[in-house]
């Protein structure tokens, strides 16, 4: 065991040393610095300091992490394959080193490099935002908006899902009983259509109507600052229509606070600060009610989309949130490094690179397809040959499996959350660690180590 640890450390140190001495690290560092300092020159925002800060944060974080991801994948593809092709591996393979030690040592070395570069990204981005706050061109209101909307962390609560089963059952039964449906339509399809209809109806607040959303507060949740409701509302006439209404909030199921009148045009995200006292630990729920007071003009307010309405409870500080987000990114990079390493145990360097990038792209694309099943598959009823059908089915199954595997971590969206001021929870970090940092690299590593132990290193 002691020897294995020493070998692990030794292989990891060699990986780090090779990256440093072959100037790979310097190249990557240069690229990241170009992004970190060049992107702010390219981004413009919409003309407000807040937008500039937000875009600076999200773009620099995203682009630099993306570049780092590419670098990690490429480095890991080279880590074993290039040594086999350069024949250095022959001298290593005739030493008493097991395949898994080699694989894991390389992985640890790459992760150490990635961790250092990620930390650098975090520090530079945070410093840039801090510098932006000192920009003499900004006025106090700009600074306040950056502090209050970007340099904050809020816990994001979705409203309690409503049980629509009874309504759904009733409507489906009515349709089926009416017997006016064409043959060949499955009840499942009818149910899906009706469900969408019911949900769309519930997203709408007609003139004179009031809609209440209930948010369950997590145990022990306390607002570290003024809580607010974030929502997107459009009128039934589209973006140009104007809707006037009133918000009310309450600690219990009934929203009882004094009315807060609003009048909106367009569809942009809006924030409504919740009056103090409307949130508390009374019975662990907060309710928000919107009354549409557009009766004279008959415009319906529509709260559409998955993030149409959220309750945000400020908690924690920006720095630790950024650190948690970067940890999640690091674990994602761990999976990428594992993918590249295992590919490089299977194939030559160019083939491993192609295959690893291909699989990574497939996962990225299948994530979208998995999230939107309607858009992923071919049209129903499309005439395909049996072979094509099997191929399409296999492709869909693979994409679905990859998407499903990636979804639990992908949905965390750590950089998006940091840029939007949403808290990356410890549980998210734990999920990322368990899946992306341990489980997937573990599986890939087992395959890579198995292959490495059986590969004819001397044949290259």
């Amino acid at each position: 065991m002691k020897r294995a640890c020493s070998q692990l450390f030794c292989v990891a140190a060699l990986t780090v040393r090779s990256a440093l001495r072959l100037r790979l690290f310097v190249c990557l560092l240069f690229l990241l610095l170009c992004i970190l300092f060049g992107v702010p020159a390219l981004v413009r925002g919409d003309g407000t300091a807040l937008s500039r800060a937000r875009i600076l944060l999200s773009y620099t974080l995203w682009l630099s992490s993306f570049a780092l991801g590419i670098g990690v994948l490429w480095t890991s593809c080279a880590a074993v394959a290039a040594e086999i092709e350069g024949r250095q591996m022959r001298l290593v393979a005739v030493k008493p080193v097991r395949g898994w030690t080699l694989w894991l040592g390389k992985w640890l070395g790459i992760m150490a490099l990635a961790a250092v570069l990620l930390a650098l990204i975090g520090v530079v981005v945070t410093a840039r935002i801090a510098l932006l706050l000192r920009d003499p061109a900004l006025d106090e209101a700009d600074r306040a908006s950056i502090r209050n909307e970007i340099l904050v962390v809020a816990r994001c609560l979705e409203p309690r899902a409503e049980d629509i089963t009874a309504e759904l059952d009733l409507q489906v039964r009515e349709i089926v009983d009416r017997g006016s449906l064409p043959d060949g339509i499955a009840e499942r399809d009818i149910r899906d259509a009706v469900r969408r209809q019911v949900l769309a109806r519930r997203a709408a607040v007609a003139p004179g109507e009031t809609r209440v959303w209930v948010f369950d507060l997590p145990r022990g949740a306390s607002a570290g600052g003024p809580a607010f409701l974030q929502y997107r509302m459009a009128s039934s006439r589209g973006g140009a229509g104007r809707v006037a209404g009133t918000w009310r909030f309450g600690k219990a199921l009934a929203a009882t606070s004094a009315g807060l009148p609003v009048e909106h045009t367009g569809m942009q995200l809006r924030r409504m600060h919740i009056p103090e006292g409307a949130i508390g630990a009374a019975d662990g729920v907060v309710s928000a009610a919107f009354s549409n007071e557009e009766a004279p003009r008959s415009l319906t307010a529509v709260f559409h989309g998955p993030d149409a309405i959220e309750l945000r409870l400020p908690c924690g500080a920006f720095g630790p949130n950024m650190a948690r987000a970067l940890l999640v990114v690091l674990f994602l990079l761990g999976s990428l490094a594992a993918l590249g390493l295992t590919m490089s145990t299977l194939f030559s360097f160019p083939v491993a690179t192609f295959a690893a990038f291909g699989v990574a792209a497939m996962i990225a694309l299948s994530r979208g397809a998995a999230a939107d099943p309607g858009s992923g598959g071919h049209a129903h009823g499309e005439e395909l040959s049996a072979a094509s059908n099997a191929l399409v089915h296999a492709g869909e199954t693979l994409a679905g499996a990859l998407g499903a595997a990636a979804r639990p971590v992908a949905r965390i969206d750590p950089l998006g959350r940091v840029a939007a001021g949403v808290r990356v929870n410890e549980s998210d970090v734990a999920i990322a660690l368990a899946l992306s940092g341990l489980a997937w690299p573990g599986l890939l590593g087992a395959a890579g180590a198995w292959r490495l132990a059986r590969r004819e290193i001397g044949a290259a």
Binding site: R44, G47, T48, A240, M267, Q268, L269
Partner: protein, 377 residues
Amino acid sequence: MRRDARSSMLLAGAAIVAFAAAGLLRRAPHGGEAPTGMHESSPAAAFVTVVLGGFRGLIADALWLRASHLQDEGRYFELATLSGWIAELDPHNAEAWTFNAWNMAYNVSAMMTDPEDRWRWVANGIDLLRDRAPRTGPAQAAVLAELAWLYQNKIGDVIDPAHAHYKRQIAREGAALFPGGRATPELMTAAWRERAAARLGLDARRVETLAEACGPLDWRVAETYAVYWAALAAAVARDPLVALRAERIVYQSMALSVYKGQWDEDAPEQTRPSHRPRLDLFPFAQAAFARTIERHPADAGVREAHRGFLAGVVFLADAFGDPAVARAAFDELARRYPSPLTEAGLERYLASEEARAATHPLVQVSILKLTQGWNRP
């Protein structure tokens, strides 16, 4: 091993050169016109364009998708950046510039409640066309014509609920550079020239030329900028359709300047901005119409616009106490577009309700305001 490394580096270098070459080839898609203007686009954009080479189309598509997705979701804060990138990835495609500018100025601005927010997005559209698009190359004329149209239609017209705010912004920007709204020769010091170029993208030489061709325009109103950019577009246009569009904007904006080309400084900040007619610009507007009619003799639309303009000026000049201009406009109307109404003479024409009702709404509004004592000259 060392030779391998050198070969790899050579191959990588060759690949970069090939991508760059692909990029350069792609930059001159319209008849091989030399892309001489890239230096006038942002250096970062030029760098990205050259380095990305053949991948630009792919990246531009991805950015279009993202921009469209964000817009659908109502997340606008990235749109100005994305629009700029999309256009800069295909800098000689006029559509990329004009669509993105139009989208920001017309669609995104309409999603905002606050006039200041709306103005920001209109300004983003202007900024994209005026400051970021290349000033030479095949896209230039169409881009400039679109910019002129944005000034004339989005800001100068009353189609937007926040148009008054836009007009005040233009007046404020213009007044900061042109005291009293006039471009005088003594104003144009070297420092002023730099400021004019940096703030409003204006070339002092062209401002002077414009004053000679179009008269002493008021640089606090949107129509003046429309004339400036449209005249520039007409001068560089090679496509006759683009040239005609630009010339139309020139004469339309000149006509509008005659109707309401004077910013009313005395109008209270909180009320609707007020403009006054500029009858002294009539000969210049006349000349603009005449130039276009001469170049496009078969275009009935231009002549119809000219007829309407002359009729409007007859009534406006009469109402605002300038009988010489009224007479000149009427004589031209009778000469070029004779009708039973003109054959009856100027007095009978002025008394004709039918002729008055056919004038441009702005003329009628100006006369109405005058009768109510709002914009007495």
